[in-house]
């Protein structure tokens, strides 16, 4: 078999990619089903509706080790209109759990920012649980790039 130029280029690029990642232990990924199960445990079996919560994460993360993530939930944070907690899960991390935030009336707003690790390109999901038991979600795909040089 003769390789076309394009095939040869593809192969050699693959070899570089392999060389760059070959030394790193790649842990097993969770599956979207694991993430779903975790969400159901959090909501008590309710399927979250979309709306109320907005998740912000970069479309492309320059390094998966430190990915800024934030969310805000529409809520007066007083009286009956209160957010109880917000859970963030990442579908394709070794374990889907990222963090769970708990709010009170003293929170003033149901919003937070943190930094997370993403093992590869995947969906990040935020689920908000309101005091009245209703649940909402938002989802963003974050592309995790593979750097050119490890340095």
């Amino acid at each position: 078999m003769r390789l076309t130029r394009r095939q040869a280029l593809g192969l050699s690029a693959g070899a570089i990619a392999f060389a760059a990642t070959g030394l790193r232990a790649v842990p097993a990924s969770a599956s979207p089903e694991d993430a779903q199960k975790r969400i159901m445990d959090f909501t008590g079996g309710k399927t979250p509706e979309s709306g109320k919560i907005t998740l912000n994460a970069p479309e492309i993360a320059e390094n998966g080790n430190t990915v800024p993530v934030s969310f805000e939930v529409e809520s007066a944070m007083g009286g009956d209109d209160l957010v109880d907690s917000v859970m963030i899960v990442a579908e394709a991390n070794p374990s889907p759990a990222v963090a769970t935030f708990h709010f009170t009336e003293l929170s003033g707003a149901a919003a937070a920012t943190t930094r997370m690790r993403l093992a590869k390109t995947q969906n990040v999901i935020a689920v908000a649980k309101m005091k009245d038991g209703s649940v909402y979600m938002d989802k963003k795909e974050v592309k995790v790039t593979i750097g050119g040089c490890g340095g």
Binding site: T66, T104, L106, A111, R115, R117
Partner: protein, 108 residues
């Protein structure tokens, strides 16, 4: 590793009823338990698993952290202040250590 060192940023003053922004950062490697050492042995998990913020003894904000939180955990969140007082921040390590910090705010 040196003892984790918290940093917090809280406004010094506010008006009653204001919703203020708080930022916190603590030095911690957040060893995920997923990594292996040079001999191929798994490095045991050691993370900060809980962060809480209280104001005058009342809970304001809390977070349960999983190993997917980056090294040197950072949080930005809000608090509604109705009176002068002190915020207390605590970070709980897997090994049971508790790191804490306090910040006062004057509400006019």
């Amino acid at each position: 590793m040196a003892a984790p060192k918290p940093r917090v940023k809280v406004p010094k003053t506010a008006s009653a009823g204001d919703i203020i922004t708080i930022k916190t950062l603590i030095s911690h490697t957040m060893e995920s338990g997923q990594r292996k050492d040079k001999d191929g042995k798994p490095i045991p998990r050691k993370i900060i698993n809980k962060f809480t913020c209280e104001f005058n003894g009342q809970k304001v904000f809390e977070c349960d952290l999983d190993p997917a939180i980056s090294a040197n955990p950072f949080f930005e969140f809000n608090a509604k202040v109705n009176e002068s007082g002190a915020f207390k921040f605590t970070w709980v390590d897997d090994d049971g250590s508790v790191y804490s910090s306090e910040s006062k705010i004057e509400v006019k």
